[in-house]
Subunit: 174 residues, 2 copies
Amino acid sequence: MATLGNCIGMMDEGIRRLSDALPELPVDKAKLSRLMLMVGGRVQEELEHTLKPHRLNHSEFLTLMILYSSPDGSSTPGELCDYTSQGATNMTRIGNALVTRGLVVRSASEEDRRRVRIGITPNGRRFVQKMLPTLFPRLSAMFDGFGESDRRQFGRLLRKLADNLDRLDEGTGR
Amino acid sequence: MATLGNCIGMMDEGIRRLSDALPELPVDKAKLSRLMLMVGGRVQEELEHTLKPHRLNHSEFLTLMILYSSPDGSSTPGELCDYTSQGATNMTRIGNALVTRGLVVRSASEEDRRRVRIGITPNGRRFVQKMLPTLFPRLSAMFDGFGESDRRQFGRLLRKLADNLDRLDEGTGR
DNA sequence: GGCTCATATTTCACTGGTGAATTAAAAAGG
DNA sequence: CCTTTTTAATTCACCAGTGAAATATGAGCC
C-alpha cells in the first residue's frame, strides 16, 4: 500500500461507485483533478525529500533560486511573494531562515523606505551551485520514458489547465 | 501578478537564464516538474476554496468521501491513512473533527481490539449528498476545452508520471 | 503643508500537518 | 504459557503556512 499506483486504483474504484449513484458526476474530470492532486503532492514530496539533506524546504529553495537566477541577484519580499505564490507572512519567515544561514542579506531600500531588498550572497551562490546538480538525477528519473512528444503534450495540457484556473479565479476576485 | 500565467512566464524565463550558465540542466523536465508543482498547488487551492463554505479541508473531505463510497460506509484509521496518504497523527485529528460534527462515529473493533472502526453516519451521508454537487460547476470549468482526446492524454501522462514516482520511491525505501 | 488613503513589511495567534514517544493489544517463538 | 516483537491508535512537541492587526512610509488631494 501507499504507492501512488494503489491510491490511484482506489480512486478509480471509488469514483466508479460514486458515479453509479450520482450520474451527473463528471467522471473524467473528477479523475483528472484527483490525479493532479495525488501526483502533484507526490512530486512535491519527492522534491522536498531531495532538498532535505540541504536543510531547505520547497518555498525556501524556490525563493533562493529566484534570487540566484535574477539578473542582479536581488529582489524584495513583495516581489518574491508574487513569484513564489507565498503570503507575505511566510516570506518574512523564509527571509529569516535564509539570512540566518548566510545565504541572503536584507538591506533597506533607498528609493522607497517601506521596502526591503533581499540579495543573494556569494555564499548563497556557491551553495546553489553545489546543491542544484544533486537534484538532476531524480528529476530526470521522474520523467523517464517521456519522449519529446509526451513532454510537449504534457506541457501543453498543464498550461491549458493553468489558463482555465486563472479564468476561474478572475470571476471570484481571488 | 499572481496569476498562474504570470508565474509560469517567470518560471520559463528563470529556467532559460539558468540553463545558459548550466548546460547540463534538463530544461524540459525541470519545466514540467515546476508546472506540476504550480498547477497542482493551484488545483488544491481551488478545491479548498469551494470546500471552505462547508467547513472542510481537503483531507477531511477526502476521508469523508472514502467512507461515503466504501461498500459498508466504514473503515479504520490505518486504512484511511493508506488511502489518503495522511499520517496516523493527522488521521486522529481528522477523525476528531468529523466526529465532533456528527458526520462519522468511532467504535471499538471486536475482532481486533487495537483497531477502531470509523463509520459514516446518516447525517454524514446527507451532508455529502448536499455538498458534493456544489463542487461540480468549478470542477467542470477547470477542464473546459479539454476534449475527449485531451482528457485521455492527460490521464495517461499523469498515470505514467505516477508510475515513475513509485519506482523512484522503491529505491529509497520511501 | 497637512489629512487621508494605499502599500510594504512584520508580528501575533491560529490551523494543518509531521516525527517521536506512549499505550495497548495481537502475533510469533521458544 | 510467557516473553518478545509487531501493529494500531493516540498524545505531545514542533514546523510550515495563513489571516488579521500593527507599524511605517509613500502618494493623492484639497
